[in-house]
Amino acid sequence: MAIGWYLAVSAFIFCIGAAGVLTRRNPLVVLLCLELMLNAGNLALVAFARMWGNGDGQIFALIVMVVAACEVTIGLGLIVAMYRNRLPIDVDELRELRG
């Protein structure tokens, strides 16, 4: 089977994720969409690994998952901390870093 279908699915998921990150204001959903983008990348990695018949890409995909898990842990921790401090759960409201 041609690799094109896999890549098309991967690109499609990536675009959904990117659109979610750019449009949604709830940090929880932004994190979810980030995961979508990462996993789109994973799909492409695994597909290419399969195409070349070697395992490197799969190992990369595993590492990306580990990193994603860490990132989610910290991201969720931040969101919980915001909630506890009764800060608005809205990324547009959190703009103290404006120059």
Binding site: V21, L22, T23, R25, V91, D92, L94, E96, R98, G99
Partner: protein, 670 residues
Amino acid sequence: MSPTTYGWLVLAFPLAGTIAIGLGFKRLSGPAAGWIGTAAIFASFVSALGALQQLLDREPENRQLVSSLWDYARTVGVDAQLSILVDPLSLFMVLVVTGVSTLIHLYSVAYLRSDEGYARFFSFLNFFVFSMLLLVLAGNFLLLIVGWAFVGAASYMLISFWYRRTTATDAGMKAFVINVIGDVGLVLGTYFIFKHTGTLDFLGSFDKVGEVFGRNDGDLVAGCVLLLVGAFAKSAQIPLHTWLPDAMEGPTPVSALIHAATMVTAGVYLIARLHPLFEQAPAAADVGAVIGCLTLLVAGTIGLVATDLKRVIAYSTMSQIGYMIMAVSAGAYAAGLFHLMTHAFFKALLFMAAGSLIAAMAGEQSLDRMGGFRRALPFTYGCFGVGGLALAGVPPFSGFFSKDEILLLVGDRGGWHWGLYVVGYIGALLTAIYTFRMIFRAFLGEPVAPARELEQGHVHHADTPRNPATGEAEDADVGFPGAEHHIAERAGEMKGAMGVLALLAVVGGFVQIPHVTHVVDDFLSPSFEGSALYERSPSGGLEAFGLILGAVLGLAGIAIAYHVWVRRPGTAAAFQARFAPLHRLFAGKWFFDEAIAALVVRPAAWFGRFAQQSFERIVVDGLLVGGATGVVRAGSAAVRGGQSGFLRYYAALVLVSLGGLALYFLIASA
């Protein structure tokens, strides 16, 4: 022990004294600091005697010894070492410096007894002696420059010793600035020599001078003239002399030590030390001889009219150094150094006696207010008289032999040197007149109030201490006089030091009587082995004529002074009225200060103001500083505009730029 080991010891003792007194000044009570300082210099003197004995045991041709402790730097072509040169010339200077310094330290033990800065004074004084010995013993140009600069710094500290006196701090700065001009001359001169000889070592460069330089070679003459600038600044020769009279603001023992016996003779030593260079560059040596001759005349005329006791002695110092500079520049090395030695004796003695007199006047230095101290200060009067007779060149006192030998050897060069010979004898007459003017005005005549008070056994104390120069009230914590005044008649240390110097001022000349003794000549000859000018024997007729002329002029000067200031006290005022322009010229010190202010200080100040108001404000502040901040500010404003704080905006930015990059690579790879 070898002579060089003794040489290192000579340096070590004063340094140890400085450090010991400097660190322990809080724990040293009473006169302890003074005795430690005196002992350190005395130990140095004893070491110098040891070196002398060792050196005399050797054959005359083996009397130049170099010893190096370590190398500062040893790279291509540079041999910077911590090395000393012990030879008859340097040892002669070491003996004079340590010997006279010991006596001046001893004098200061009593003289500054009630000063608040007693320990500080002795620490500085020991440091000065160390610097001077470093200068004298240096075996290469580098160490010479180090010693030269140290001496300048020590002089600054000691002139400004009473640091609450504005006149003293101003004088210290003036001395320091002029000495730095000399330092620059010395460094540049060294560069000119080093460029061709390729070695900093004295003996090494002397060996090469004949090969690499032709006679009167341009670079050599330039180098020697620059070295002379250094010598003129240190030795207070025209036109770099204006600091010396002002330096009299320092304590009187400082004037005796630095501004009479040691530091100001450094220029004389420099020329004698580097004589192979100057003999290869006679044009530069002639500059030195002429300047020395002019200085002795100008200083003599100012001495005639100065009214400050210490400044009269200061001008006479300038004038006597002029003789020495003229002598060593004209090749009369042994005569110049002989005069250096006798001058150190009688001038230190004169300063000490002046210090005793000033103490009896409660700090007042003006000759106009002194008079009649003959009975009140008999010992001081005697010492002043002996010093004055030696300075005036009356036989058989020491100054008679040394001054006449200089003039004899200068005249013997022939040609235009006869001009120097004549001016030298005019200067000798002036010397006798101003010296005895000072003595007669201070000691003869009607006793003034402090003198009468002292005759009844009480030393005069002013109600409020005042600065004698400006009349402003003095801070009693720092500044002479302290709670007590110390006069030679009542302090054994001062009496002892002055007694020894008075003896030396009488007999010091006997080591070198024409046709009888040649101690100085013979001792110094190994240092001047290669010199073409060293061994000269002038005709006997000229010699006898010179000696008689010198004696007659000395006595005539005293007679004139006696006539003008004792027998007919109105004569001086009449002369003053009759030759008013001349008097104004002399009393205005030939307007050197004003000329320097007009030619150097004011243009420099104007340029400084211009730089501050125009250059700095427009170019530096406006263009350089303003431009740099403007660029940074504009750049940061642009960057800051991008920092909106919107998370989604950042994410879009990342996506768009990544997409753009991907597109670029796609197009580039196609």
